[in-house]
Every structure is written in C-alpha cells, then in structure tokens.
Homo-oligomer: 462 residues x 2
C-alpha cells in the first residue's frame, strides 16, 4: 500500500489488484491527475473518426511514450463475463490479418524499446516507449490491432488458459489477494468495482469467441480510444502520423454513456477475515466508499486527497507518526485514496502490528486517529505542508515522461479532460481545513466501513 505521492514518484502498484499488467515488462502504474506547467504546452485534438489525441512535448531526451487508452474496463463488462476486459488485453497481442502473433513485440524489442499493457476497472491501455523515429511504426501496429485481430476458437482457448493460470498464480496462491477480492465484494454492495479486474474463475472459464468478438467490435474503436503521445515530438508531427495510421480506422457505432449501477446508502459495519498458514504477520485495512474526482461534488476529491495525505500519506503522516514512531506498536500504518476512478471509489486506512503488539491494538489506534481527525479536523500548518508535498510531487512526476502520459490517459479515460489535469494543483491549493474536516466527518464513519483482516493461523471453529 503506497501513498499517492509515492505513486507519483513512480512506485509500482505491484500488489494492487486494481491493475492487471501483461508481461513482457512491468507497466508503470497509472497515476492521479495533476497539473502541468505552461512549458509543457499540451495539445489535444480529435481525429475525424472520433479518436482523441493528446500530445505532451518533452524534449529532454530522444524518446517518446506512445499510449492508447480504451475507455473499457472490467466495470463495463456484461454480467457473468467478468475478466473479459483483461482477457482482451491479452488477445491484443495475438495475430492480426497483417501481423503474426509476437511480431509487434519483436519490432519493439528489436529497436531497443519497451512495451506493455494494463487493465483496470475503467480502462485498458497499451503503450510503447521507443525512439521518436519509430513512432509511426508503433501507431501502425497499434492501429492495425484495433480492428484486425483474428479471433479463432484456438486463439481464445490458448489465451484463456494463460489468464486462468495467471489467476491461479496471482490470486488463488496469495492469501492477501484472495482477501482483497472478498473485501472488495463486501465493500461494494452494488457497484461493479466489487468484481475483480482479472475476473471470477468460474466466469473466466466460460469466456468464448462469441463473447470476445462482440466485446472487440463494441469497444475497440477509434471513437472509444484516447491516444497519448509524450516525448520528443511535435504536435503537428503526431497529428500527421495519427491521421495516416489511426485516421484510416473507421469510426464505430456510438457507445451509450458509461452509466453503471451505483452504491446504495451503506448502513452497516462489515468485516472480512482470512486466516491462512502462509501468513506470518497479521494486518488489516478499513475501507469506505467515497466520491472520486469524476463522481464527487467539486472539491470533494481534492479534500479527500489531502485528508489521505495528512492522515496516512507517508512517514510524516499522523498514522505513521503515532503508531510507528511514537507508540511503536505498528510496523506499518497509513491511508490512501484512489481518486482517478469513473465512479465512487474507496478510502483506506491500514496497519500491521510490530513486536508483541496485537492487531486489535493497532486497529484501535488507527480508529482513534480516524475519530480524532473527524472530530477536530486538520491544522492549517499540516494542510499547507500536505499541499506543498503535492505540488513538489509534480516536479518528480514531470521527470518521468510516462508519468505525465499516465496522468493524462487515466484522467481522460475516467471522464475528465485536459483542463482537469492542468487545473488540479490550483484546486488543491484552494482546499480549506474546514473542507477536509467535512469530508472526513461525512465519509469516515466507522459504523459504515468494511475491515479486512489477514491473520496468520486458522481461527477457532471449523
């Protein structure tokens, strides 16, 4: 569990189930919206077929990051077809009518580039980092697989075995991952984020060519995609190349608005407990349903971001200072908020005991900090420091070209626009201490939370 700022520094969300990443290499984790100084001169435009294009010039090094984000994630899947969005991430690496399977990967590695893909609740993204001279080739490959995949029963069966094995190794073999899945299924009573991105095993096993073809034809269209190009390239060049490649792909039928089932009011305290012999150190996390940047009222998500930062966003946070440094009862303690989501999202606090401390002691201490911030709010000083850390984090983010690409891509794929990214630090700067206290009081109600416990040994009972 990492704080937002750690994400901005480029830390991988390696243990999170929110993102399912296809090898060959690990993808950068998508990061949260942030502002971009004027010198970045971000350009955005639409191709005639509806494909959105964002260009982020960055001439410090002769490389370019090329990403295509499809506005289709696991939360858009039809009932009973869980896993098909991630399955499609895999299928996109198979043969097309123009290229054999693996040809795209080899073309990237032959020129010393890297490529990857990832799937989340709200989007599926494909990306390559290469020399600028290879940008047209990347676009050509990417535009080709947008429409020309060959989906045979044989391809489906082979790749389905791969995702089933991926589920076995990444989820079913990991007590932490199994617990996370059931916590999600408990926290979310109605919203599709309760379904794992990788899919439920029994539904993945049934995915077939008919499902895949329908999914491909519906969602893999230029008018459902966002192209992000960051790096050593000019907007005019990107536009010309994009029109030459992606521009030749026919627009698909208009897609309906992404209106999904939403959460009912929650009224109960829920717990989810997994005891497993493979667990050595107990841990817990408590989650609440809160608004995201897209679903919240103006300023709410910004206040939640600062709340998470002050409460548990790193070594200077209240939770870390109280539990790890002062009381010495916890080996870890913190909080995070995943704001860049299309629908309501989760706010999490967590902790694990150290030495002889019991998990119940750590939970009580975390709860006490939650109650305190709800009751007394935050100080002007800690609010200013949190804001400063966010602004400084942008300096680190700008150092990584693909971080900027991820910020724009994830924002545009979850209902935001370029202005939302550019104005984000201004909005953060405007948050008041009262607003932070208000979101804490409104959302962090322990009697309406979900706590997951990962315990080392079998509990009593049977």
């Amino acid at each position: 569990m990492t704080s937002r700022i750690e994400w901005l520094r480029g830390t991988l969300l390696a243990t999170s189930l929110a993102f399912v990443v296809t090898s060959p290499v690990l993808a950068e984790s998508p990061v949260l919206p942030n502002t971009v100084p004027a010198e970045f001169k971000v350009t955005d435009f639409l191709l005639d077929n509806g494909m959105e294009v964002v260009v982020i010039p960055d001439h410090r090094a002769p490389i370019v990051t090329h990403m295509v984000w499809y506005k289709i994630g696991s939360a858009d899947e039809p009932p009973g077809k869980s896993g098909i969005a991630h399955f499609f991430e895999h299928l996109m690496f198979k043969a097309t009518t123009n290229h054999a399977a693996g040809e795209f990967d080899r073309a990237v590695s032959d020129i010393g580039g890297s490529n990857n893909a990832f799937t989340s609740y709200d989007y599926t993204a494909f990306h390559e980092t290469v020399a600028p001279s290879a940008l047209e080739l990347m676009m050509s490959f990417e535009a080709d697989r947008m429409r020309n995949l060959i989906l045979t029963d044989d391809v489906i069966k082979t790749e389905r075995d791969v995702i089933l094995e991926e589920r076995r190794s990444r989820i079913d073999n990991s007590p932490e991952a199994v617990l996370d899945e059931e916590v999600d299924a408990t926290l979310w009573q109605n919203q599709p984020y309760r379904i794992p991105v990788i899919g439920w095993m029994q539904e993945m096993q049934q995915l077939n060519r008919v499902d895949a073809t329908a999914f491909y034809d519906k969602y893999y269209r230029p008018n459902n995609a966002v192209l992000i190009v960051a790096g050593d390239v000019e907007p005019d060049t990107v536009r010309a190349l994009a029109e030459k490649t992606y521009g030749k792909v026919a627009r698909g039928p208009d897609l309906p608005p992404r209106i999904r089932p939403v959460e009912p009011e929650q009224n109960t305290k829920r717990t989810v407990t997994l005891s497993d012999a493979r667990v050595s150190v107990p841990s817990f996390s408590t989650q609440w349903v809160v608004p995201s940047y897209h679903s919240g009222k103006p300023g709410e998500a910004e206040a939640l971001d600062l709340l998470a930062e002050i409460l548990g966003g790193g070594n200077r946070s209240r939770l870390y200072q109280a539990l790890v440094v002062q009381q010495g009862i916890a080996s870890s303690a913190g909080a995070f908020f995943q704001g860049t989501m299309l629908d309501d999202t989760n706010f999490t606090v967590y902790g694990a005991p150290r030495g002889d401390a019991r998990i119940s002691d750590v939970e009580a201490a975390v709860d006490a900090e939650v109650v305190r911030i709800v009751k007394d709010g935050v100080t002007p000083s800690e609010l200013e420091k949190a804001k400063d850390r966010y602004v400084r984090s942008m300096i680190f983010a700008r150092d990584k070209q693909d971080s900027m690409a991820n910020i724009y891509g994830s924002t545009l794929a979850t209902g935001g626009n370029v202005q939302d990214v550019q104005q984000w630090t201004d909005r953060i700067r405007k948050v008041t201490a009262d607003e932070v206290k208000a979101v804490a009081a409104r959302y962090l109600v322990l009697a309406r939370s979900t706590t997951g416990y990962l315990l080392p040994q079998q509990q009593a009972g049977n």
Copy 2:
C-alpha cells in the same frame, strides 16, 4: 424465521424480504416442493402458445385457486434496474386497454373472492381464490393484463411513488430489514440474490416507462408463464377455459436460458453489524451459500432440508433443545434452508439471547452445535423422525388447496417439473445419515460464512 415445516403449515413468511407482496390481502407464502398422493391426479399440459398449465383437482370445497406464475424475478433484472420485477407486480393492477384500473380487484371482491400477487428472486405470481363459476372471468382478466397494460408516463410515475414509499416503510424504517439487505449483499459476492427484491432506492427512483415497456414485452408472455389451477374443477374444463382465454394471447419471442452470474468460491468469514436504538433484543444469524433443488447435485438439497430440520427446524431440533430448553441462554435458536430457488441458495442458523445471556454466548453455542453435526453427523433415530415430520407435513399441506398450488408453482418457476414435486417424499426417504453429514461437512464451514448482528445500541467508535 420459520422452519420449512412451519411454512408447509401455512405460516406466512411475513418478515422475509424474499417475497414482496402487494396488498390488498396478504398472499400465502410460496412453499417448497413436496409429493402429492395419487388421489390428487395432477394434470399438466401446454397450450399451443407455450403456456404451461397444471391442474390439481380438489373437490372438498366449492372453491378454486387460480395462479399465474411468470418465470421472471428480481434476479433476472438488468444491471441498474433493480426493483423492476416487483414494480411490474404493481403495474399489473393498473388499467388495460379493456379494463380500468381496479376493475379486476372489484370483480374479485364483488363475488366474495380474494386476490393478490407476490414477487421473489425467481418469479412473479398473481392469484385469485374464487367460486369455480368465476374461473373463466379470472382467466379472462389475467389473460388481458398479460399483454394489454397501458403503460403511460403518468401510470409509471404514480406507481413508482408507491413502491418508493413501500421501500421506505418496509425496509428503511426497519433496522432488521436494513441489516438483512446488507447481509445479503455480503453473503452473495456475485450472484444476483445479493440485490433486494424490492430494489435499491437509487435505482427504483430511475425506473421509467421505457424500462417498463421493454420488461413487459420481454417477460409477460404465455410462453414464460405457468398457470396453476387447484380446486373444485376438472382438467378438461380448465383446458377448455384456458384455450378460450390465455390461448388467444400470441406466443412471444423465445427467451434465452436463465443463466445468471454464479458465486465464486468463498474463502472468508464475514460479519455485518447494525446497531440501532430501535433494537431492544440483540440477535444474529449466520448464513452459508449452499445448492438449491435446482442447482445442486441429486440428493444434496434433500439432505440439506433434513439437516436444517434436525439442526434447527423446530422445538424438537438440536439448537432449540440445547439453547432454549437445556442451557436456557436463548429466546430463539434455529436453522432453515430455502431449497426452492433457481440458483444456489442460503442455509441459515440463528439465535437471540434470553435474560442475562450475551449474544456471544448464544453464537458460541450455535457454532458448537454446527461443529458437532459436521463432526459427528446425525443419528438414525433423529433422521427417521425428521423424515416422518416432513411426510406428515404433507398431510397439512394438502389441507390447504393454495399450498399445493404454491408448491407446484414455485417448483415449476424454478426449473423443476411436476415429477419433481411428486417424487419429492420418495427422495427425502432415501437420504442417508452419511449424506446429511456430508452436506454439513461440505457446506457449514464457519470460516466461510456470513454473520449478521442486530444490536440494541450504537457501538463504540463514531
């Protein structure tokens, strides 16, 4: 919470959320499948338009029970449209092209009859009890509203206000009902039984004429309906009248198989707690996902029925004897199993403390009985007595004409057939003690259960 046998005796499931009943009068609760002695001579046949007809002659009194069961329940609803099945139960009492709103109800009461309707996860049923001479009139009204409802925006808005008020009064005003909803949403991680039959408020508010018309056109068709006529009437008469009335309704498009999302493997212990000042006596219930008569392997549901009866099916059950009679710590304790469901269903144990006993004492004692029956199974003597009670319960069931109609209707609406009902006591008779122990051991694992707590006062925290 009532045992299955109490259901068969005609007890209303008044507090269950599984059935949403429209006034004017309380419906009989649907009951579970059972066998019927030969003297009942049940006849079943299909009309040319695909409507299934079951006739259960019973000449002891000059009355007839007329029911139409539609194979459409809340678990068939599209995502985000929860409550529409129950909404339709209400809309069916509005005006048609041939009859004003209320005309059907008045026709029934004018002849001294009674009528009602109810909605569950798997079906929606409409029924009237009248003199045999009025059977054709009932069929005529029922066949009319199968296709001729006038669904205007005004009708939708008015009746939507009614169901919203029904939700407020029946669910939101009842801590027990609110808890039950969130327990269901927790127990079921994927299967649609996690969604309340009455619907989530925020989705009910959005139901509109377009949704309603599409739903009506898809599901309210003779080939998606089962007609049950029980009482003082002969099969030939029913056939002639049914052909004259229902037979004139055109067959609708074939419906796809009712294949819904199913549960993943469950791996955790979950709890759901609601503390409310309106609660005076604490209580709890623990549930497991288990197979139903339709989803289980042969014999599993029969074994679960006997397990529920022996463990907690009434005053002679282990839980009642141990907790209420011998230890004196509980005011109530029992178990039940809802077998007549299309998909996997739930097995429940429950209890409430008496006097100075704590709820944790009662839960520990219930858990101990669960562990004991898992470990040691049941005795031949208690198994035989449980079987005898089931067979005797049929004698009571036969005394109520509408019980038989409900048994056939609910079975046929959940994937069963007439033979399943007729052979049920034979199958119950064949269950062995080993089979009962096997289902207990397989399904009643406390580390994979969901427990709901209803507590009298606000817990600590905030």
